[in-house]
């Protein structure tokens, strides 16, 4: 059943990309443990607004763990302490009364801060533009049953395609590498027969774009997998490594 807890929040406040950020301390009082983390922030924002303080900016949309918009680092952990959970699905019952929570944006050179906890993840879109698609035009498709696809391949593709593009992998990686994201996206398409014709160019171009954006290099530390709210396996990174080796 629901309890009420009090928390101390140390929140990263930064007016815009150019300005210097700093931590501000706020009290979150009478927080219902059935609230989600974002609902807790809503409540804090309501009281900040009433006291004339600019509310904390944070990105969010679907609040059911699928759109990939939300995300922040709570006490050093991307999306908070729970495995396989986005911030919007993290409930306050996982925190203790009186606890101090340090709330920071996803940090990486490639994710410039827009305001407070909001970051610019457009680098991900540019990586997809480099090759994360199958070049079929509307109307060109043959019948859906023209090519049977083995179930294990579809399952593998679906595991990879579950990626919500939230950027937690980059945030959690000590090197701010985007390998898990890129691997998931490439792996999804490379394994399917429909994606094979463009496999080589897709792999090379996506990796190239990833490097040009300034993401770090994968050093097999697997922090990404642990932070991924969809628990996407680093086996996809291995597959990207293999596809890349075969393509170059």
């Amino acid at each position: 059943m629901a309890n009420k807890i009090n928390l101390i929040l140390k929140v990263w406040r930064q007016k815009n990309q150019e300005s210097q950020g700093r931590f501000e301390t706020y009290k979150a009082l009478d927080i219902d443990t059935d609230m989600s983390f974002l609902e807790m922030l809503d409540v804090v924002n309501e009281s900040l607004t009433k006291s004339g303080v600019d509310p904390i900016a944070f990105d969010h949309d679907c609040r059911e763990g699928i759109c990939g918009t939300c995300g922040a680092v709570i006490n050093g952990q991307a999306h908070g302490p729970l495995k396989g959970t986005t911030l919007c699905q993290l409930h306050m019952r996982h925190f203790k009364d009186g606890q101090t929570l340090v709330i920071e944006p996803f940090r990486a050179k490639t994710f410039p801060i827009i305001k407070d906890l909001c970051v610019d993840r457009s680098a991900f879109d540019r990586i997809i533009q480099a090759g994360g698609f199958i070049s079929v035009k509307t109307g060109q498709a043959p019948d859906a049953h023209a090519v049977p696809v083995p179930k294990d391949k579809v399952d593998w593709a679906m595991d990879a395609a579950a990626c919500i593009g939230c950027g937690a992998c980059v945030a959690a990686c000590p090197n701010a590498s985007a390998m898990l994201f890129v691997a998931a996206k490439a792996s999804h398409l490379n394994v399917l027969p429909q994606g094979v014709p463009e496999k080589k160019s897709r792999t090379l171009n996506m990796v190239k774009q990833m490097d040009q954006e300034g993401f770090g290099n994968c050093s097999n530390e697997y922090e990404c997998e642990a932070a991924c709210p969809k628990e996407i396996s680093v086996a996809h990174i291995a597959r990207l490594n293999k596809d890349h080796r075969q393509a170059s």
Partner: protein, 225 residues
């Protein structure tokens, strides 16, 4: 869609170069240890092994230059990668250092263990490989025992042994991550094999560190001269 096939600047290519050179170095570490263990056979066995190596002549030189080259590439490429990683992370670190994942000490220390090993190897070359095998450092009780003497004399100094053992612990840590990492970087990750490989990687690392460290410990505490 246009694409460029081989690109040294690609992060994955660089990683695979590090992995491949790392693999060569793993083999070197194994053979080197096997040779070192001749020390347990006494001066004749050990010096005999050293002479055999010297008899290889030009082959030995080629192997040495090859190793030197591989080692150099391993270090230089890694240095590039580490610099890029530092840039990608930016100045901003998290206020709380709290990893959610499996990041082990070995993994965390990779660049540091590597750097220590690099410095150590230079010293090691000067210390043993390029040492005057008949010089004053080879003499035990007035008799020159060749390289065997140099090694024994060196390890009789506890400080010297300690530096060596620290280096070998770092080697172990470096191998614990590096050996299994090699397969991931080359694209092998499998539900059945990967856990075994990770386990093997750890045992192998311990075995190497223990094997090398046993020599100074043997000289310090067991060998009577």
């Amino acid at each position: 869609m246009s694409y460029q096939t081989f690109d040294f600047n690609s992060s994955i290519t660089k990683k695979q170069i590090v992995a491949l050179t790392g693999l060569v170095l793993i083999f070197f570490v194994v053979f080197h240890l096997a040779g070192n263990l001749f020390i347990y056979g006494g001066p004749a066995a050990f010096n005999g092994y050293v002479e055999k190596l010297d008899d290889l002549g030009v082959l030995k030189t080629i192997a040495e230059w090859g190793l030197f080259f591989v080692f150099g590439i391993h270090i230089l490429t890694t240095a590039f990668l580490v610099l890029e990683n530092i840039q990608a992370r930016g100045i901003s670190r998290y206020a709380v250092d709290n990893s959610k994942g499996p990041r082990s000490l070995a993994t965390r220390l990779m660049p540091y263990s590597g750097s220590y090993l690099f410095l150590y190897v230079i010293w090691h070359l000067i210390d043993f490989s390029w040492a005057d095998q008949q010089g004053p450092r080879s003499i035990i009780h007035g008799v020159s025992y060749g390289l065997y003497g140099v090694v024994v004399n060196a390890f009789k100094d506890p400080l010297h042994s300690m530096l060596y053992i620290i280096a070998m612990c770092f080697l172990g840590l470096h191998l614990a991550h590096g050996t299994q990492s090699f397969l991931q970087t080359f694209g092998f990750n499998d539900n059945r094999f990967t856990p075994c490989i990770k386990k093997f990687s750890r045992y192998f690392a311990v075995a190497m560190a223990a094997g090398y460290s046993s020599i100074p410990l043997y000289v310090l505490y067991v060998l009577k001269v």
